[in-house]
Symmetry: C2
Subunit: 645 residues, 2 copies
């Protein structure tokens, strides 16, 4: 029960840091507890409602022969139901809820009834469309959907101990293993996902065949002749072990590369891990938004070239930030390197969290870093145009999408979040993320260590880590010091320990009960600059504080267009706690220049020779990026011009 809701590496021979199961993690009141509560209550209820009214559940009723009529919606809609179930399982694993349990049981009954006798399940390819099964793996997402089923079933079993969904999962997975493989059909799914699911199923069942099947699917990409038309957008242009650039559909790449690292922790294939690391370096060192968002292009929902990071037309799908968190979590477990924990944190507090409203019930699909208030027409030229909102204007949160991958994705992330906070290795407890509360971790040798964490993080940088109980021998406490934390300090019993931002600080010692470690992460307001090759950000800076990226929003700047605001050496930016704003935020206040409104309204005119001088100054308020678009509609900017006047 509650063993390892997300990633159970307890028996993975090549893992370096094994996650502490979320059932061992208490989350005290604070930033994340609040957000988990909203999602568990209002969020899951609204999502379930949407699954009902949009026909996602009716599709299962039809496939089960309990309802007449045609399939409703898109052919991959089953996956939303599975992701909701996964999220609900995590919620149920943390606290009972008869209401939630009732909804889940109803859905699980439907799934059981909809599964074909041979284990196949997809409600689109049912009834008169049953013969279309597997006709087009490139586009039709059947294995992707079953991958989400498997993840839901594993989560459900781990959280509840019940096998009712897990039985379906094993039948579906066995069907897949019988159908695809060296002796069977060779194609991978155009949309990865099944690979991650099968790796975890192998861990849950102890049956290696699922791991082999996952590696088989991974290695079917880039074959000659190709199975997926050799398309870059489907990561089919080269074998995954030889891929070096994060190209193509960004969500798909995160799922694919996460599975590569994941499988490597069980198979020990250094080549698979190395290729995942190489793709990570391409994605995060050259192609990621400062928010941890991924995907620069609406077209193909794809990564762009190196340093191609437009702000207004950033795609940065919520699912890509979430997929990036899955990927970083696996690379962190596989290597123990702090850079993965750093980007996980960045994506968590910014690029992923922005995808959901404070009440858990409204979502973003694309996440631009600049928006203008004008309503502009939707643009039907590409995929997922319903959810993509491919305009720079009028970008608003929505209660649901026709392609609704993002809402249940952010739900399953938030409700399993405690599983990302801690890890263990031989004789060491790792603190990856700072959540107030308590962890009772089992070290690999079975010894127990209990740590209490007291902090107002991310609003405050003081983190008190109190070892309540520990074995009576030296244990190392490894604490991630984020790369942004210049000047951080760590103190045990009044003694300073050396720290280096961007790495884990390790303290190995015997821990008498109630030994307190004090970590101080400086929460000064930082200005961030981009690599000079990021054209969109030349001459601009972003405001950050701790792990949070900030933005300026029209709702706080009624006098001036946010586009006219300019920072400079006199901006005097200061953090300010605002307990009544959007459930409590720390804003950043200061003064901004207001760029001269050119007399001419011309699109192009003769350059007047000088830089745009601020014409006056005004009060500036920046709010965390994750919090934007929860008040009145209006413009927003993350990157703000900086003029050194």
């Amino acid at each position: 029960m509650n063993s390892a809701a997300v990633l159970d590496l307890s028996k993975s021979p090549h893992a370096v840091v094994r996650p502490v199961p979320p059932g061992r993690v208490e989350v005290a009141d604070g930033f994340w507890a609040e957000r988990m509560r909203s999602m568990r209550g209002h969020g899951l209820a609204r999502q379930f409602e949407q699954c009902e009214v949009t026909g996602r559940l009716r599709n299962f009723e039809r496939a089960a022969g309990r309802l007449e009529g045609k399939f409703e919606g898109r052919y991959y809609n089953d996956s939303d139901v599975y992701k909701w179930l996964e999220a609900a399982s995590y919620a149920l694993g943390r606290a009972p809820s008869a209401e939630l349990q009732g909804c889940m049981d109803r859905v699980i009954d439907l799934i059981r009834a909809a599964q074909r006798p041979d284990g196949y399940i997809n409600t689109y390819f049912s009834g008169s469309q049953a013969s279309w099964r597997y006709r087009n793996l490139t586009d039709e997402h059947e294995l992707y959907c079953m991958g989400h089923l498997i993840q839901a079933g594993v989560a459900h079993r781990r959280s509840t101990g019940s096998d009712r969904l897990f039985e379906v999962v094993v039948r579906a997975a066995d069907h897949i293993c019988e159908t695809f493989g060296p002796e069977g059909r060779p194609e991978p799914d155009g949309h990865p996902g099944i690979e991650l699911a099968l790796v975890e199923l192998a861990r849950e069942t102890g049956n290696d065949k699922y791991l082999k099947q996952a590696v088989f699917f991974l290695d079917q990409r880039g074959s000659d002749p190709p199975h997926l038309n050799g398309l870059h957008v489907l990561q089919d242009h080269a074998p995954v072990r030889e891929q070096r650039d994060a190209d193509g559909h960004s969500v798909r790449l995160t799922y694919l590369a996460a599975a590569m690292a994941d499988a490597a922790m069980d198979t020990g294939e250094a080549e698979l891990l190395a290729a995942s690391v190489c793709l990570w370096e391409s994605a995060y060192l050259r192609r990621a938004y400062v928010t941890g968002g991924l995907g620069s292009r609406y077209q193909g929902e794809a990564f762009g070239a190196d340093y191609e990071l437009p702000n207004d037309r950033a795609y940065a799908e919520t699912c890509a930030a979430v997929g990036g968190i899955f990927w970083n979590a696996r690379l962190l477990a596989a290597t123990g390197e702090a850079r993965y924990g750093d980007w996980l944190e960045t994506a968590l507090y910014n690029g992923a969290l922005v995808g959901v409203s404070p009440d858990g019930g409204a979502y973003f699909y694309a996440n631009p870093l600049a928006a203008d208030p004008q309503p502009t027409p939707d643009d039907q030229g590409g995929v997922h145009s319903d959810g993509a909102q491919p305009t720079i204007g009028g970008h608003q949160r929505q209660p649901w999408y026709d392609t609704a991958c993002c809402p249940p994705n952010i739900a399953r992330l938030l409700l399993s979040l405690p599983g990302y906070a801690y890890g263990v290795s031989a004789g060491a407890l790792w603190v990856h993320q700072y959540l107030p509360g308590r962890v009772e971790a089992a070290l690999p040798d079975g010894a127990s260590i209990t740590l209490r964490v007291v902090t107002r993080y991310p609003w405050d940088g003081d983190v008190e880590l109190v070892v309540e109980e520990a074995p009576d021998r030296p244990v190392e406490l490894r604490v991630r010091v984020p790369s942004w934390a210049d000047g951080a300090s760590l103190e045990v019993d009044g003694v300073r320990e050396p720290v280096e931002p961007g790495s884990y600080a390790g303290i190995r010692r015997v821990w008498p009960a109630e030994t307190a470690v004090r970590l101080r992460l400086p929460m000064d307001v930082r200005l961030v600059a981009s690599h000079s090759r990021v054209q969109a950000n030349r001459g601009r800076v972003a405001i950050a504080r701790g792990p949070l990226v900030y933005c300026i929003e029209a709702a706080d700047h009624h006098e001036s267009n946010v586009d006219a605001l300019v920072l400079g050496p006199d901006s005097d930016l200061q953090a300010s706690d605002e307990p009544d704003l959007l459930g409590g935020l720390t804003t950043i206040r200061g003064s901004a220049g207001v760029a001269v409104k050119r007399e001419s309204d011309e699109l192009y005119s003769r350059f007047d020779g000088g830089k745009p001088e601020p014409s006056g100054s005004t009060a500036l308020t920046a709010i965390p990026y994750f919090a934007w678009a929860n008040r009145a509609p209006g413009g927003m900017r993350v990157w703000i011009p900086y003029v050194d006047s």
Copy 2:
């Protein structure tokens, strides 16, 4: 013969300025004569060759029953053959060529044989696919293709006097009028083009039914319920008379809005003209590149929002610049306003001309305003991915494209160019564009006026306009003074006439033979700034001289990455004639700062507080934008950072 190859407004009651037929315009040696010669010779020959080898001509043979096998290529490929014929007709109208004539006759024979007895013609919807005819007007471009056939037939008849192609055209047009209309099928074509064609066919035949049919098609957009799914990208979201923003596919919008202005000159419908003007203001005052390129998005090949003008990911399809020229020419004829002549000139010398190599045989489809040399993967996520080259790197000219709309489009523009240079109105000769040579224009009352133009434009701003012969009564000479020409002067017989940039200067007088008018357009090197809302160009300037926009290219800057070059007050930019460079160019030379290469290679880092100071200086050479990508591959920038250090 040679009457009005492009736009015959001689009988259009509501035209303000009627184009002088290109047959009345001699083009002396110089900038355009050279380019027309390349296109007429090498360019048309290579394009014909491509039509042969890619199966475009074989498709006609198959439709004619002379060849077995399946249709090759894309369903709209007939249009390339028609556009080639249109271009070849203009060429033949200017000078005989047995070889060209032979190719054309062969193609025309094939077209005659491929046409169905009822007048329908499309080689894709032939043979066993004949029953698919008109099954999907939204996507399948049949009326679009027939529109290009009609334009070709009109051009062929006007240039050669032959009816061999024109007979096909009339049959096709009659078939369309019988099939579509208030009594027939109601849909317009998803890709406009038929409307422009039918308006001109009405002029050529004197038969009003084609004009009515054109207006019918125009007004079918935006109907309720919609014919084209109400899509913005197809300009079907509102009736065209009510559309206010240049939205959707940019080439399609230019053809559509051009037809609105065109039809209005014959029908007198002020509402149609006003809507076209309103769309033009949206397109050119808020959504156009400084090059006259249109289309900010790869996705949907579409316009962006106001001021959304990315440089590296500019789509700016060559066809959109060409379509913009057709549109500006019609608005200029309909209103006599100089702003349309100005943008026509900008698009002609920059956004359109960049689409073809100096030898006429290699082309661009998309036209970014910034490119990096890295080869990046092609991206199959959207339409026309073959031609679109949707990456910022490795942007190279191609001999042809699977979707080959651009090559014959630039050919038909260049070979009909003299038709865009002059116009007449009651008692007035208008000089829209400066081509060295001679025009013998018939004024509306039949009187003749002959003007000799001597100039090295665009390299030199001195334009001598000599009235060789004129009626023995006052005639007005109206000369466009471009909006960029601050300080321009105009002199007749030593007397200065008032001029205002951005308008036509009018001189009304009796013109004794050989009266010389001297127009001096200052050819100082200008720096151009963008509206502050163009995020991509904040802190940057473009170099321009006369009508030409310049760029910096790697081939001239071996020491430094073009991305590192920075302009400033000391750049001392000077024009320099380079007769041996790419067939003779005026380059602009000066010095540039070289931006500090940040020590850190990080994507994001703590802002160091100051502006990027140039670390040294280097020689800078800018070449006209149209001339880039004709030497070694490498980076290119139009917009260059400007630092006022």
